[in-house]
């Protein structure tokens, strides 16, 4: 899977779960850049991403990512 494709798919999930059409994600986006992205919504996003990509993150992975790019790398590695 291409990282750019994964980004588009993840962005759609963010828009849906956080209910905000204006969200634009880049590889460098972090929780600081998206208003609704707090620790609670984070877990809801993670579960939605797991479902969409049919993968499972470990508990530690979920806390480790510093930005969207790292999350995408993790998704792609699991999908390989």
């Amino acid at each position: 899977m291409e990282k750019a494709d994964a980004l588009r798919k993840v962005q759609e999930i963010f828009i849906d779960i956080l209910d905000n059409d204006d969200i634009v994600l880049t590889y460098n986006s972090s929780a600081n850049d998206v208003d609704e992205w707090d620790s609670l919504n984070h877990i809801q996003l993670v579960v939605a991403i797991e479902k969409a990509f049919k993968i499972r993150f470990t508990s530690q992975e979920i806390q480790r990512w510093k930005n969207v790019g790292e999350m995408l790398d993790c998704i792609i590695a699991k999908n390989a």
């Binding site: 849906d16 779960i17 209910d19 620790s39 609670l40 984070h42 877990i43 809801q44 993670v46 579960v47 939605a48 499972r56 993150f57 470990t58 508990s59 979920i62 806390q63």
Partner: protein
């Protein structure tokens, strides 16, 4: 089932027109998502659940501090969610020789919490029970070891049921049964738990919320009273008109077994007070044949309050059933194997609940088990007789047609009413009637058994319950009135509700005669009534006007000294109203 994400989106909708109920949610784990799911689910059912959430793990502080925010908030309902994980944590911290005391300690804490809440608030108390965790320390042998965690958690669930059975203001939401249905993997996700302190998975939240809101809806009088059944391929396999009584599938062999078990389930519903009706496209005599002659049939004609079998369309027939029973479509469920019939009925009677039965009759029961269609918060002996009462009502209606004059008809009924104040014998039924009556209910205040008990001994309230029986049968307790001493000369009618089964018998006049005379004898000058409109009680919009009350702004006043008793044909059996 809607997803959690969809429920959360509901939170942005306009709740302003919805019925609001104040809820307090107290958990020993993080409950933010649960709070959102319950509020979102409330919206689905027309409720504005205003949920105050205690800070994380604050149950005991909120309960045992009389100045806490909880008591300040004065909720209508308090929901306690104590998790199995926290329970396991408590167990882990006990000394080994104390393990066997876990359930006793916890149930004692629950009892103390309830006593404290009941002494300070009139809120309904709701607890979640404990989904099982088997820690596999003893394997199967845990069942033999009282000190094992599995033994203790099961014991605690049982103790909670015992406590609920003995206490009218202790309601359980059975989330353990959700785990039985959906599996522990579905209920609990380690990643969510580790990262958020929440013990419920995102996916299970809607199920937990729905089961919780089902109970809140029942508190609010929103529950099912009647099950309307198709016959062919619903109650038995095959088509009675084509296959004949020898060839329909019903019995202990093959698929016949599924229908037998399905009928047993329906019979149990009937025995707990759900009214059964049949709506079938059939020739009536043929449709009745299996009920009369089939050796394996479980349901009999006397289990069914209204039997409609003809070739008219089902929409009209269900409307006909609804008129006879005089209950709302939203309290009726229709089961039919035919998707075409289901769709027509669903489109034309949107308030009716029409479950999408699975194609294979073998799946009917397992599917229906998951729907929790028949939530209730009360059960009394009268429920067993309900079908009989509706059958008698149909018979009465038939007789009435032969009388030209209504008074003659009423006289011929030999009606007798027993009037009593609330006491421990009639409390369950009075509470239940307050929850079930939607149409003939002037102010639609719902009471629990605990509320009714309190009113029975209140110094400022005067309570009346009315039964009605006639030569056809006994309707049981069908009406209640609660008067509140508002001023030295005025009794305010806090509640007046009546079962629609006894409309047009002159019961309203009889009740007014009773309370008006009572007021006069006890030195009051006025009765004051109020009508609070709901979507369902338009029937009594002009109730006080028709009874001769005079309007004064939003109230209705009756001068009891100038009141002429209404003519009625009901004799009173005994009058034992206590003068508090």
């Amino acid at each position: 089932m809607k997803t959690f994400s969809a429920l959360k989106k509901n939170l942005k909708n306009d709740f302003s027109a919805l019925k609001n109920i104040k809820i307090a949610l107290l958990g020993d784990t993080a409950t933010q998502f649960l709070q959102q799911a319950i509020r979102g689910m409330g919206f689905e059912h027309g409720l504005d659940l205003q949920i105050w959430e205690a800070d994380f793990d604050q149950i005991e502080r909120q309960i045992f501090d009389p100045t806490s925010d909880l008591y300040e908030y004065k909720p209508d309902v308090i929901i306690f969610f104590q998790s199995s994980h926290k329970l396991l944590g408590k167990y882990n911290k006990l000394k080994q020789e104390e393990y066997y005391t876990l359930a006793d300690r916890q149930i004692q804490l629950i009892k103390n919490i309830c006593a404290e809440v009941n002494s300070k608030l009139s809120a309904k108390i709701v607890f979640y029970n404990y989904p099982e965790i088997d820690d596999s320390v003893f394997g199967n042998y845990a069942n033999s070891i009282e000190s094992s965690f599995l033994f203790q958690i099961r014991k605690l669930n049982y103790e909670q049921m015992q406590f609920a059975a003995a206490n009218s203001n202790y309601y359980l939401v059975d989330i353990s049964s959700i785990q039985n249905q959906l599996g522990k993997k579905f209920l609990f996700q380690t990643a969510v738990y580790i990262n958020t302190e929440m013990v419920l998975s995102i996916d299970v939240l809607p199920y937990i919320a729905e089961k919780t809101v089902d109970l809140i809806r029942a508190f609010n009088g929103d529950f099912k009273k009647c099950l309307v059944l198709d016959l062919d391929n619903t109650l038995w396999g095959g088509i009675i008109g084509d296959d004949g009584i020898e060839n329909i599938q019903l019995g202990m062999l093959g698929i016949g077994k599924a229908f037998i078990e399905f009928q047993y389930w329906i019979k149990k519903l009937k025995n707990r007070g759900i009214i059964l009706a049949v709506c079938s496209k059939n020739t009536e005599s043929i449709a009745k044949e299996p009920f009369e002659k089939h050796p394996d049939i479980i349901l009999h004609l006397d289990d069914i309050a209204v039997f409609v079998a003809n070739w008219d369309n089902k929409v009209d027939n269900i409307k006909h059933i609804q008129r006879i029973l005089n209950i709302g479509f939203d309290s009726m469920v229709f089961l039919d194997d035919n998707p075409f019939e289901r769709n027509i009925v669903r489109e034309n009677i949107p308030l009716l609940t029409v479950p999408e039965l699975p194609e294979d009759p073998a799946d009917y029961l397992e599917f229906l088990y998951t729907l929790n269609l028949f939530e209730t918060i009360s059960y009394s002996n009268q429920d067993i007789d309900r079908t009989k009462q509706y059958q008698i009502e149909a018979e009465r209606a038939l007789i009435q047609q032969s009388f030209l004059n209504e008074d003659e008809f009423l006289k011929s009924l030999d009606m007798i009413s027993v009037v009593e104040s609330f006491n421990k014998f009639n409390t369950p039924r009075v509470a239940q009637l307050s929850q079930r009556s939607n149409q003939f209910n002037l102010r639609t205040i719902r009471y629990t058994e605990m509320d009714i008990e309190a009113l029975g001994i209140s110094k400022v309230h005067h309570t009346f319950s009315f039964t009605l029986k006639d030569k056809f049968g006994d309707n049981g307790l069908i009406c209640a009135v609660i008067l509140n001493k508002k001023a030295h000369d005025t009794l305010f009618i806090d509640s007046w509700f009546m079962s629609c089964r006894v409309l047009k018998r002159g019961m309203e006049g009889f009740v007014l005669n009773t309370i008006s005379n009572y007021a006069k004898e006890n030195g009051f000058k006025y009765l004051e009534g109020e009508y609070i409109p709901t979507v369902k009680n338009e029937m009594v919009k002009d109730h006080y006007l028709n009874l001769g009350f005079n309007q004064l702004q939003k109230s209705w006043i009756l001068d009891v000294n100038n009141y002429q008793n209404k003519e009625c044909f009901i004799e009173t059996h005994s009058l034992t109203i206590e003068n508090n």
